[in-house]
Each structure stands twice: as structure tokens, then as C-alpha cells.
Symmetry: C2
């Protein structure tokens, strides 16, 4: 259980103070805060509460959107925003910032991928100077147009390898990569670059491209097998339970956290 981390999106109704206190009360030693929740109380207060409760940060969610468009289609300066996120990660005492790179801008897939590579080139030195590593998280191909032109681990790794391992790595999220016939080989290839491991399951039938996720054990994903792959590749850090699910989001945070702990113990640990 000492590797379990609560990704804060899973307990969406909780504020960051509530989530930190909830983790501490339930013996969960790690949390992955989301930036909008951090912003509600400020980075300094967040850092103070984390220290007070003895809860460590596995990663900060999230920077990115380097293609220059949000999922809603509005323009954003992803590079500038990610620089701020790097500073926030450092202030919170984590060395991992998760990046979601953004969807297709200007109806140009190849050009959008190039923008991601270019943006990463600008950000990598900045991140390395501050002791923060950028974790490229490939998202499920069904989110290619809207959220991430980075769709596979192989693709993320190729991009990461243009930079020092101290600056850029990859994040393995089961929901996004479990279907990939190359997932085991890809994880092995990513040895030394894996900055995070996110677990959750997929709803079947898959009724929603964004919220169609479930607690580990409620879908077809073989968590122990993927965990073994990630460990064989040398990743022994925190394991985040990250679930986007409308029904969970309606429940009180402590009720959700108890289910997170139980499903992790039964299907992942």
C-alpha cells in the first residue's frame, strides 16, 4: 500500500485540503493534485498542508496543450502555461509534471505533432534547471482530435528520447494504452524513462470517450500484468489511481477513497 497515490481527479468533489487530509487519515502517503484545485488555495498553502499531513506529491496534473488548442477548441499558449506548471511542481516538491500535449490545431495533424516537438524543445531546458521532469502521457486514440496528438507509448518515447532522461520521460496510464498490441514491448523500451504509472479500468460497453473509466477490477485490464511490465522496466515509484467516472464524481470523497483503496488492494497491489 505504500505505493498507492490518489490522483485527485478521482475524488473530484474534494478540495485539495480535504483530499490531503483524507489521504492522511486513510494511510495513503501520496497524492497527485490538479492545478485548478491547487490554484483555489495557492501553491504555498498547498505545500504547507502537504508537509503538515506528511503526504507527498507523486506528480502534478497537468501541463501541455502545446498544439495551442484546448479540448474546447479555444487558443492557449501551452508553452507559457507549462512553464508556470513547472514552477508549481517544483514548489509542491514533486519532480514530475504530467503533460497532455493537446489535440489537432488548424485541422493539421502532422503540423500539430510538430508543434508538440517544438514546444518540448523550448520547455525541456527550463524544466531540467528546476529539477522537474516532463512526463509525456499518450492518451487513448479516441482523444487524438480533441486532447492529444500523442497516442501511443512508442510515439511518446521517441519524442522523449530527443531530450535527456533527466528532462523528459513518459507516463504509462493503463486506460490509454492497455489495448495496444505493442504495450509490453513499448513499456520495456521505455526503461529509464517511466515517470509514472496510472491505474484504472475501462467500462464495457464504452459509453463515453472521456468518462468511460472505472476502478481497477471493473473492466478488462490486467493490472498485475501491466504493473509487472512497468516494474520490470525499473519503475518502482508511486502508483496513481486515476478515474474519470461520473458516478464516482457524485459520491463524497471519503466514500470514493475507500473504494480506491479496496480496489487497489484487490487488483493492483
Amino acid at each position: 500500500m505504500e505505493r498507492l497515490s490518489l490522483n485527485q481527479i478521482t475524488t473530484k468533489r474534494w478540495s485539495l485540503p480535504e483530499a490531503i487530509a483524507g489521504c492522511a487519515e486513510n494511510g495513503v502517503g501520496w497524492i497527485a493534485p490538479w492545478r485548478d484545485k491547487v490554484a483555489e488555495i495557492g501553491v504555498e498553502e498547498a505545500a504547507r498542508l502537504l508537509k503538515k499531513h506528511g503526504v507527498r506529491v507523486s506528480s502534478l496534473c497537468r501541463g501541455g496543450f502545446l498544439t495551442g488548442v484546448t479540448p474546447e477548441g479555444s487558443r492557449v499558449d501551452g508553452v507559457a502555461d507549462t512553464r508556470e506548471a513547472i514552477d508549481e511542481a517544483a514548489a509542491l516538491g514533486t519532480d514530475v509534471l504530467v503533460l497532455v500535449v493537446g489535440g489537432i490545431a488548424d485541422n493539421d495533424l502532422a503540423g500539430s505533432r510538430q508543434r508538440v516537438a517544438d514546444g518540448l524543445g523550448e520547455l525541456a531546458p527550463y524544466a531540467m534547471e528546476r529539477g522537474v521532469r516532463l512526463g509525456l502521457e499518450p492518451l487513448h486514440p479516441m482523444q487524438c482530435a480533441e486532447r492529444s496528438v500523442l497516442s501511443t507509448l512508442d510515439q511518446a518515447l521517441a519524442l522523449a528520447e530527443e531530450h535527456p532522461a533527466e528532462a523528459v520521460g513518459v507516463v504509462v496510464d493503463e486506460f490509454h494504452v492497455w489495448w495496444d498490441p505493442r504495450v509490453e514491448e513499448s513499456i520495456a523500451k521505455a526503461a529509464g524513462r517511466i515517470l509514472g504509472f496510472h491505474v484504472c479500468d475501462q467500462l464495457v460497453p464504452l459509453t463515453d470517450t472521456f468518462l468511460g473509466r472505472a476502478l481497477p477490477g471493473d473492466g478488462p485490464i490486467d493490472h498485475r500484468r501491466l504493473r509487472a511490465c512497468v516494474e520490470a522496466a525499473g519503475y518502482l515509484g508511486p502508483i496513481e489511481v486515476e478515474v474519470f467516472n461520473a458516478e464516482l464524481w457524485r459520491q463524497p470523497g471519503d466514500q470514493v477513497l475507500r473504494q480506491v483503496i479496496a480496489s487497489y488492494a484487490e487488483h493492483v497491489d
Copy 2:
């Protein structure tokens, strides 16, 4: 325009006699019938109408479900059903049967993939004897659990290459593969094995994993680029417009076919 084929699912409200007549009246020389529509009038009558109207069959949709489960989760003998489909394809005068291999059975992804390989081993000689080639169509990863444990062109090609090119090949459907960072290389590798090319677009936002498709030009897919890849790999056969879209399905067939022809002319041809 001589390569345009109407995949019958696009004009869902039309019976097969209506679709064949509609193609003939509108100068579309190819059709890809669906087996449930063929069954409504019988294979012999279907063959007679095709001949009468001078419309040729680009492929028959579809056999498969070799993992033994339907999208609704009930059991099916996919091998026996696909044998029947091979006979129907031969009787309709096409040498291509599209295969959708089926989703995950018994919560076992690796085992389900093995069942597909085993089923293909049984079917390939039967198909070759009858002059029908089996076209493995990888489906979008979001359909992995429910419809197809075959998710990428590379994966489909590796499976096909265990058999003679006269028996097993792959079908390139844009909706399913456009996001793949390896799509261009994969198509090139599939030279000599490409048995069909299906065009359509993806709705953005992607509101439905099954029906989230659109006519060419109404989404982010670069049809001319993918068509050039497929042609460079030697495929010069019919190009099917295959669109699963609830709004199109509500419209009369002739109205849909006119839009198919216009979007094909503008974005594909």
C-alpha cells in the same frame, strides 16, 4: 468516380434492391452489401439484381467474430458463420470478405487474440479454395473490448502474413487508423495485402464510439494523403464510402447517396 463504392451501411434505410438500383441510377458502379440485407432477399436474388443493374461487389460485410462473442456479449461460432459468409461472397461474385474479429471473450485479451489466430488458421484454406480473400479490418482501439481485439494495421498485417496473400489480407478503414502515428509506414508495409480502402471522417467532438463518423471532409482526416499511401502500396481497387452516422441513417437513401458522391468527389477523388 469509377472507383467509388457504396458501403451499404451508409444508406441504412435502403434495402439491397433499393441500394443496387440507387447505385445504378447514380452512376456508382460498386457496392459493398451487408449480409443481413442480403439475407432479406437471398443470395441468388441479390446476385441476379447485381448482374441486371451492372453493379459489382467490392466486398461483402462481414464475417469474423472469431473470439466467439458478439458486440452484445452473446456467444457465437464465428468460424462456422464465416464459412457461410465465404460461400455468400463467392456467390455474389466478390473475392473480398471483410472480417471484424470480435472483442474480448472471458475477460482474456491475450487468449482472445489467440482465438482469432486459430480461427484464421481454420478458415484460410477454405477461403482460398473458393477464391475469396479474408480482409482483416483492424478497428479503432476504442472498440477493442466490444468488437475487435485487432486494433492496428501492423497487428493485422502480422496476422495476415502467416497465410498466403491469396487467402488473407488487410482492409484499411480511415476511421479506424487515421490517428496511428505509424499509419503511413504500416500501409507501405502492407503492399500486396491491401484488399480494401474505406473512407469516412471522424466527428469532433467524438460523441459516440460507434456512430461518431461523418462523410469525408467533415472531420480531421486527410483523405487524399491516405489515398496516396494506399495507392503507393499498390491498391487501385474500389474505394468504399462507409459511414455509421445516426443523422445520415434517418435520411432517405437517395439523399444520402447524393451526399456520398459529392463528398467523395470533393475530398477523395
